[in-house]
Symmetry: C2
Subunit: 156 residues, 2 copies
Amino acid sequence: MTREFNPRVSIEQIEESEELAPKFDDDGLIPAVTTDYRSGELLMQGYMSAEALILTIQTGEAHYFSRSRKVLWHKGATSGLVQKVQELMIDDDQDCIWLKVDVIGGASCHVGYRSCFYRRIPLSDNSKPIRLEFTETEKVFDPVSIYGDIPNSTKL
Amino acid sequence: MTREFNPRVSIEQIEESEELAPKFDDDGLIPAVTTDYRSGELLMQGYMSAEALILTIQTGEAHYFSRSRKVLWHKGATSGLVQKVQELMIDDDQDCIWLKVDVIGGASCHVGYRSCFYRRIPLSDNSKPIRLEFTETEKVFDPVSIYGDIPNSTKL
């Protein structure tokens, strides 16, 4: 436990006090949800280590922990699409972080779309196969020109 | 793998096709982020099992998997605060679900606040201890009258 965080001592402390006492899971991570400060749109869902959370607080730029690469991840360090944190929130039981960010250019998705969430799952109780519906049709940047030959982060 | 989901065969299929091929982790879960359909506000972050995702698609009401109770969880079954799904999205690599929901009464937090995210973490690079800032001051319901003596879901 770093100096920045308090030990978790009671439900009242966690839920109703001003003490920052985040809960990290067995891997030392806490989920982080990132939305666009202006539109409210969900940009991504990731994870933070204690170090990533402290760096985010101290620098005002979103830091995560990349589970696939197993490293601290300063979002935008490669692409230039840094996320400037406008507001940082924590939830009732302090096991989830919410970042409201401003992204230069507005793009956050490694595929090139504005948001990572560019497909809708239609609701239906019938037995027809589900087909995803695209809600964005145009890419806002070309991933190849930004990322070059860095391996795609999507895992099968 | 149920009939509803496709096996994950290629990055192009996962990122650029209309096939629903969600990635469940080693525990059989996929993270789910839930925002208010109108305000865009983050209400909660949870997890879905395959069964929870299928039931959400089929019923239009949010279902999750409770990791603390280890059961399928029809949100609102106890409190009455059912989440009506207005739009259901999936992300680029299909390992995260976004639910935009309408909640009767607008409350989603077991502590009684409207959102689970009622405290801000101030950004700062100085060495003063961090104090959370409350952004909601009034509870929209009384958790005791809604939940009675059901044990608090917050874990130390």
